[in-house]
C-alpha cells in the first residue's frame, strides 16, 4: 500500500468504505428480518403487508384487520332507507351479514365522535323516521370498546356506556345508555344505510313509528312481526377428568402460564386439583370449575404492556386478553359453546376492573348464574383472578316460539322498557323467553 499512488490509495479506501457500509446495511436488515414476526409489525402497515406477501405468498391470502376481534356482537341491527326498513334480531348469521358491510363505516363514524350532549326523546323520535343505521347490544358497552371492535379509534372526551346506537344518515349519532339517558353527537362521517342494500333482512319498524302512543317501550325498540323459534337446551358442566385430560390439561395450564409438570395436589375439602406456581394457584374441579388466583401482581398474567395503550384505553386490551384466554380454555376441552363480554365494573381509581363473560346460544344470552362463563379481575395490566365455569349446551330437540316484539311491545304497561330475549332455567332445561328490561 505504501508504494501506491496516493490518489489510487484514496480511491481504494473510498470504495472499501462504500462497500463495507452497504454490507453493513444488508447484514443489519438480514439480521433484523430474520427475527421478525407478524406480532412485531404494525397491524395494517405497508411493511406488514409486504411481510405477509413475502412469507405467505402472493397477497398472503388473508388480511390484517385494524380492529380488535369483537368479544360481543349486536343482538339487533337494522337499516332504514328512503324505501323501507329491514333488520335482524337474535340471529347471528343475519347480524353478521349486516356487519360485513357496515362494520368499517360504523368504526369510522365512532372515530369521528367528539362531544356528547344530552338529548330530548322527541328529537330521537323525529330522527328515527329518517334514514339511518341502528345497533343494539345485549349489555351496555363503552363506546370506545365498540369503536375498537369496529376497526375505529375513539377520541371523544366522554365514553358513555351504550346500550343502543342510531346513526342518522344526516350525521347525528344517538346513544341510549344503560341508565336510560339519551345523548346525541354530531359526526363528520355516518354509515350509509344503502351499503346494506344487498343484505337480506326481515321487515321491521321502530316503536316510535308504528305505535307512537305506546310509551311503555323505548321509541327505538325494534319491532318485527315474525316469531322467533329457538331450541330448548340442556346445560351440563364439563367433566374435567384430571387423570385422563392429557393434552386438554396441557393447553389449559399453558394458557395460565403453568408448566405441564407443575407441582399439584388434590384438595381433600373441595375435591379440586390444585396446581401451584410460585405466586399463584390454579384450582380445577371435576364439575368444570377453574379458579385462578395470583397472590401478587407478579404472579398474575400480564395482559398488555402499559405503554402499549392507545387511544382506546386499557379496557380493549383487558377484554381481548380475557377473551383469548377463555377461548383457549374452551377449545382445550373441545367445548364449542359461544360466549360474549357481558360488562365490567371498574374501581373508582380505575386501577382494577372486574369483567364478566356470558354464555350465548346462537345470539341469545343464557341469563342468570347458569349463563356466567367467567369473571376475571385485573389490577392495572395484570389479570390477577379468574373464575371459569365450563359448561356444554345440548339442544333437547324441542323448539319454543317466543312472543314477537310487536306483540310484546303492544302488551307492555308501565316502563319504559327495553325488549330482550334470553334463555332461563326451567326445571332441568334452559328455555328461551321474551322479557322486559328496565334501566
Amino acid at each position: 500500500m505504501k508504494h501506491l499512488n496516493p490518489k489510487l490509495k484514496n480511491r481504494l479506501k473510498n470504495t472499501a468504505l462504500f462497500v463495507l457500509t452497504l454490507l453493513l446495511v444488508v447484514l443489519t436488515a438480514l439480521s433484523w428480518l430474520g427475527d421478525l414476526n407478524l406480532g412485531d409489525l404494525p397491524a395494517d402497515s405497508w411493511l406488514g403487508r409486504l411481510y405477509i406477501s413475502l412469507s405467505y405468498g402472493e397477497a398472503g391470502g388473508f388480511t390484517l384487520r385494524s380492529g380488535e376481534f369483537p368479544a360481543a356482537r349486536p343482538v339487533e341491527i337494522a337499516v332504514q332507507t328512503e324505501t323501507g326498513m329491514k333488520g335482524a334480531q337474535y340471529n347471528e348469521n343475519a347480524v353478521s351479514g349486516f356487519l360485513s358491510v357496515l362494520e368499517q363505516p360504523i368504526g369510522a363514524a365512532l372515530s369521528a365522535a367528539t362531544d356528547f350532549e344530552l338529548a330530548e326523546e322527541n328529537e330521537l323520535i323525529e330522527a328515527l323516521g329518517k334514514p339511518g343505521v341502528f345497533v343494539r347490544y345485549h349489555c351496555a358497552l363503552p363506546l370506545s370498546l365498540i369503536a375498537s371492535w369496529m376497526g375505529g379509534s375513539y377520541h371523544a372526551s366522554s365514553d358513555p356506556n351504550a346500550q343502543s346506537l342510531f346513526f342518522g344518515a344526516d350525521g347525528v349519532l344517538w346513544v341510549r345508555t344503560d341508565l336510560g339517558n339519551l345523548y346525541r353527537c354530531d359526526l363528520h362521517a355516518a354509515p350509509d344505510p344503502e351499503l346494506a342494500a344487498e343484505v337480506s333482512g326481515q321487515a321491521c319498524t321502530f316503536a316510535a313509528q308504528t305505535m307512537p302512543e305506546q310509551t311503555a317501550v323505548r321509541p327505538e325498540t325494534l319491532l318485527l312481526s315474525d316469531t322467533l323459534t329457538l331450541p330448548t337446551v340442556t346445560s351440563t358442566p364439563v367433566d374435567i377428568d384430571i387423570e385422563h385430560a392429557g393434552n386438554s390439561l396441557t393447553v389449559m395450564l399453558e394458557a395460565f402460564g403453568y408448566d405441564t409438570y407443575v407441582r399439584n395436589y388434590p384438595d381433600q375439602t373441595t375435591g379440586m386439583r390444585v396446581f401451584v406456581n410460585n405466586q399463584s394457584t390454579l384450582r380445577v374441579g371435576q364439575e368444570g370449575e377453574i379458579v385462578f388466583r395470583a397472590n401478587t401482581a407478579e404472579g398474575g398474567l400480564e395482559a398488555y404492556l402499559k405503554n402499549e395503550i392507545g387511544e382506546n384505553g386499557p379496557l380493549t386490551y383487558q377484554v381481548d386478553y380475557a377473551r383469548r384466554l377463555l377461548e383457549s380454555i374452551l377449545q382445550s376441552f373441545s367445548t364449542d359453546a359461544s360466549f360474549a363480554f357481558d360488562g365490567c365494573t371498574e374501581s373508582e381509581d380505575g386501577k382494577s376492573a372486574r369483567l364478566m363473560f356470558r354464555y350465548f346460544i346462537g345470539s341469545v344470552p343464557v341469563e342468570g348464574e347458569e349463563g356466567i362463563l367467567a369473571v376475571v379481575e385485573y389490577q392495572d395490566n395484570v389479570l390477577v383472578s379468574a373464575e371459569v365455569h365450563l359448561r356444554t349446551f345440548i339442544q333437547s330437540g324441542i323448539s319454543h316460539t317466543i312472543l314477537p316484539t310487536r306483540q310484546a311491545a303492544a302488551a307492555a304497561t308501565g316502563g319504559p322498557y327495553r325488549l330482550a330475549a334470553g334463555y332461563f332455567v326451567s326445571g332441568t332445561d334452559l328455555v328461551p323467553r321474551r322479557y322486559y328490561l328496565t334501566d
Binding site: S55, L64, N93, A94, S200, R324
Partner: protein
C-alpha cells in the same frame, strides 16, 4: 485533519462490525440446521423404537408460523353462489335461527349451513353426463364460474366423474375446504365446505409455530399406526360461532391407516 488515517480506522471498524453481524447470522443458520438434523434423527429413532416405519422419501418438513384466521359467513356470496347455479328465480327459505338457508328452483336444490357447509343437487339445462375426466373438469369449471367462484388460485382435481375444487390460504392448503361435484347420470351432486371473502386476523391475533416433531409425537402417543408416509402443514376449518369459521393451523399426517389432523391449539388429533 488526517483523512487517510480516519478512513483506515473507519474501514477497520466497519470490517469488525460486518464480521460480527455475518458471524451472528451464520451462527443462527448453522445452529438451526444442526437442531433440525438432530430433531429429525431423534424422531426417526423414537419412531423406530416404537415399531413405526417411515417412507424412504420422508423428510421432517420445516415449520412455518401460521396465523389463526377467522372468516365471516357471507350470506350475500352464498346467495350469489346459489342463484348462479339454480337461476335467479330460485326461492330461498331459512330456519328461524338463520343457521340453514335452503334454495329451490326447477334446476335443483341447494343448502348452506353454519360453518360454510354446502350440499345440494343441480340439474342444469341440457345436462349430459361427461364422458371422461377432462369433460368433467370442464363442466365443473363452467359451473363454478357461474356460481361466482373465480379465485385465482382455485385448483380443480378430477377423479372419474368426481371433481373437487380447493384453494390455499397463506400459502398452505385448507384441508377440509373443498367443494366436490359428482356428475351422475341425471344430476350433479354438490357437497363440501367453503369460505367466501378474505380470512382475517386482528391486531392482537395469534400466530402459531407448531413444530412438525411435536405434531408427530402427539399423533403417535394416542394413535395406533405402523407407517408414516408424509406430513404437510395447513389449516382446518371449524365453526366458531357468530356466523364465523376458524382456520386453525396444524399438520396433516398421512399414515398407513389414513390421514390425521393434529390441531396446533387443542393439541388434539382428528381423522381427516
Amino acid at each position: 485533519m488526517q483523512w487517510s488515517r480516519t478512513k483506515t480506522i473507519l474501514i477497520v471498524i466497519l470490517l469488525l462490525v460486518d464480521g460480527f453481524l455475518f458471524f451472528n447470522i451464520a451462527e443462527k443458520y448453522v445452529s438451526r440446521s444442526y437442531r433440525e438434523a438432530e430433531n429429525a434423527h431423534n424422531i426417526v429413532e423414537i419412531l423406530t423404537a416404537r415399531g413405526i416405519g417411515i417412507d424412504p422419501g420422508f423428510d421432517l418438513p420445516d415449520t412455518q408460523a401460521l396465523p389463526v384466521l377467522q372468516a365471516d359467513r357471507s350470506r350475500v356470496e352464498e346467495d350469489k353462489f346459489a342463484y348462479g347455479l339454480l337461476g335467479e328465480d330460485a326461492i330461498s327459505s331459512e330456519q328461524a335461527s338463520g343457521s340453514t338457508v335452503r334454495y329451490t328452483s326447477d334446476r335443483g336444490t341447494l343448502e348452506w349451513r353454519d360453518g360454510g357447509a354446502v350440499s345440494g343437487t343441480i340439474m342444469p339445462e341440457a345436462y349430459t353426463q361427461p364422458a371422461d375426466e377432462g369433460q368433467a373438469k370442464e363442466q365443473a369449471e363452467r359451473l363454478l364460474t357461474q356460481a361466482g367462484l373465480t379465485t385465482g388460485s382455485l385448483t380443480l382435481a378430477a377423479n372419474g366423474q368426481t371433481v373437487t375444487a380447493s384453494f390455499p390460504t397463506a400459502g398452505v392448503p385448507v384441508f377440509n375446504r373443498v367443494i366436490t361435484l359428482t356428475f351422475e347420470k341425471e344430476q350433479i351432486v354438490l357437497s363440501g365446505v367453503w369460505t367466501f371473502g378474505m380470512p382475517y386476523i386482528t391486531k392482537s391475533g395469534n400466530y402459531v409455530t407448531f413444530a412438525a416433531a411435536d405434531a408427530l409425537f402427539i399423533l403417535i402417543s394416542g394413535t395406533e399406526i405402523e407407517q408414516i408416509t408424509g406430513m404437510e402443514q395447513g389449516f382446518l376449518l371449524s365453526e366458531s360461532g357468530g356466523g364465523r369459521v376458524q382456520l386453525t393451523p396444524g399438520w396433516r399426517i398421512n399414515t398407513n391407516t389414513g390421514s390425521f389432523f393434529v390441531d396446533s391449539l387443542k393439541k388434539s388429533v382428528s381423522v381427516l
